[in-house]
């Protein structure tokens, strides 16, 4: 178990990177606290696997250092780092039985036979494969194989960190949920530092204490699921997380007022006069209907009932806006008046969130 420090870390796959564009992973400073569960969330090609491979030692970064506790392991080979990693696709030793597969990492480290047998049984129970222990891994289904991979990752108790690279891609949906819950329980039980790479926000938000959102090689926000929901630091976080994502509307911001599509909106707080590309961001959950004649005039295009709530697709000026309404809410038809709850309003300048100045303004 270890605290992992990334200091000035950056990586480029090119031999002589020139511009920022050449970096698959842009400069990053971060400390992964010991015993926390993190999720690395981002779309494909955002650099999350690069970051994971740097931590596991499969890749040596072009700049910066990686520290496990206080030991510099930037150049240390994977075997020395004492980490476990589970890959996107199942990696099993085909010719071995399930039992031998699970025992392999322990035996290679010279653990005694009694301990290995005990630990393997314990892990088999956890992944629900006790019945298949003596079968060859070769003939098993993809999700059974992936369970073996997970099991092999967890079999060592003394690992510095457990890394998961989209491990549930090939698993059935119901099994996914079950395994994720087990991983979480395991985390509570053993307190390993866990880093879980995924592009699935549900997976990230349910698994992790803290979510690290990445976009185009940059870490755009590190925060609790609640932070990401309420105060996205970057427009990417706004629309990547949430279903549907945050509404972003170009705005002209003057202090605590904004002009959007010709109408004035109260922001609740003062933002000064941000320059560059200024946008107002509001999550669908904070869009409300206003009494006739008040607020902003919009038109309802479509209503989607997803069971728990309704998603209302609105046309506001030339922008599309989504709103999430409870099942009980009565919806006007055709034209409607909407307002934005000031609590849920964020202002972005060139995609980054503008800190409000001072406290609440009426």
């Amino acid at each position: 178990m270890a605290k992992i420090t990334l200091s000035g870390l950056a990586h480029s796959y090119l031999p002589a990177p020139k511009s920022d564009e050449d970096f698959a992973l842009k400069e990053l400073n971060h400390v992964w606290d010991d015993g926390q569960a993190y999720a690395l969330l981002g779309s494909s090609g955002c650099g999350k696997s690069t970051l994971l491979n740097i931590i596991s030692g499969l890749l040596i970064p072009s700049q910066g250092r990686v520290l496990f506790n206080d030991r510099d392991v930037t150049e240390a080979p994977t075997a020395e780092r004492n980490i476990a990693q589970v890959f996107q696709f199942p990696v099993v030793y085909d010719t071995m039985t399930v039992r031998q597969n699970l025992a392999f990492p322990l035996q290679n480290r010279g653990a005694n036979a009694k301990y290995v047998a005990e630990r393997v049984n314990q892990i088999a129970q956890m992944i629900g494969m006790e019945a298949e222990l003596d079968r060859k891994a070769r003939g098993l289904t993809a999700d059974a194989k992936q369970k073996i991979s997970l099991g092999r990752g967890m079999v060592r108790e003394d690992v510095n960190a457990l890394l998961f690279d989209e491990p549930l891609t090939v698993i059935d949906p119901h099994m996914k949920w079950q395994l994720r819950t087990q991983l979480k329980e395991l985390h509570h039980e053993f307190g390993h530092t866990m880093i879980y790479v995924t592009h699935d926000q549900t997976e990230a938000l349910t698994f992790a204490d803290k979510v690290v959102v990445m976009s185009e090689g940059r870490v755009v926000q590190i925060g609790t699921p609640q932070d990401l929901f309420e105060r996205p630091e970057h427009t990417f976080v706004g629309y990547f997380i949430g279903s549907p994502g945050m509404n972003l509307i170009p705005a002209d911001v003057r202090g605590s007022r904004a002009i959007v599509a010709g109408s004035e909106v109260a922001l609740g707080r003062s933002y000064g006069e941000p320059d560059g590309k200024v946008e107002l961001g509001v999550r669908p959950e904070f869009v409300r209907f206003a009494p006739e004649g008040e607020g902003l005039s919009a038109r309802i295009k479509r209503v989607e009932d997803v069971g728990r709530h309704k998603i209302v697709r609105l046309e506001f000026g030339e922008h599309d806006i989504n709103a999430v309404m409870s099942e009980e809410e009565d919806l006007p038809s055709g034209s409607a008046f909407i307002r934005f709850d000031p609590v849920g309003i964020n202002i972005y300048s060139n995609d980054w969130r503008v800190q409000p100045q001072g406290g609440q303004v009426q």
């Binding site: 596991s56 499969l58 994977t78 890959f87 990696v91 085909d94 010719t95 990492p105 290679n108 092999r152």
Partner: protein, 290 residues
Amino acid sequence: MNKTVNQKAWFLVLPVLVLVAFSAVIPLMTVVNYSVQDTFGNNVFFPAGLEWFRDTLQSDRMWASLGRQIMFSAIILAIEVPLGIFVALNMPKKGAWVSVCLVLMSLPLLIPWNVVGTIWQIFGRVDIGLFGYLMAQLGIDYNYTQDALDAWFTLVIMDVWHWTSLVALLAYAGLQSIPDAYYQAAKIDQASRWKVFRYIELPKMQGVLLIAILLRFMDSFMIYTEPFVVTGGGPGSATNFLSIDLVKVALGQMDLGPAAAYSIMYFLVVLLISWVFYTVMTNIDKRGGA
């Protein structure tokens, strides 16, 4: 579901039947025809029953050739398969050198058999051959035309030079298909180099190695041209392999009946051993999957 009865469909199979008939069945039947008849010339034949088969089975010469043949194939497989795997493991995985290696390794495979024979026939000669001359200069008594061991040595080296590439290329293809994640997982599991080979590389190469072994077995078991050019079966009958012996019976002595019986048995032996190989190796596969 009701099946439509349409006997015209048989016509669709006809081209294949004709093709197989002309390529395999008819030539084989002519051999069968010879094997059960005797002739005193003038194209007059008498039925001879199974006499030729009996004769061939009692011929010491045939048994000696078969023994040499099995020995040769065994040596070839024992050298070429491990060597081919070793070469494949040491070939670069990516970069410009990959194509260089591939081209260099394919070259011997592209040379016609009799040319290979001629190359080694000259290469090994003590008077003008580079290899033979070098051996003589080193004071090693090497002469493949006089010494049986030297003749064997030359033939084995020649076959290894000619065909190891095939095993290496097949094994290389097998290795290339292993995803990087396997090697990464092995590093994380602290598997030794040997264990990586034993538990990742070898199982993943199993399919292509089966093909390589089968091909090399069949080819070496039926080898004719190269030893014919290099040693002609000599010195004495030291390198008289089955096919060389067979040609001596058929064309040297013009014993068509015995030669035909010989051919059929030769064919059946190749068929049988290939079948055994295949069954054994695919069973290993199945047992794993059970």
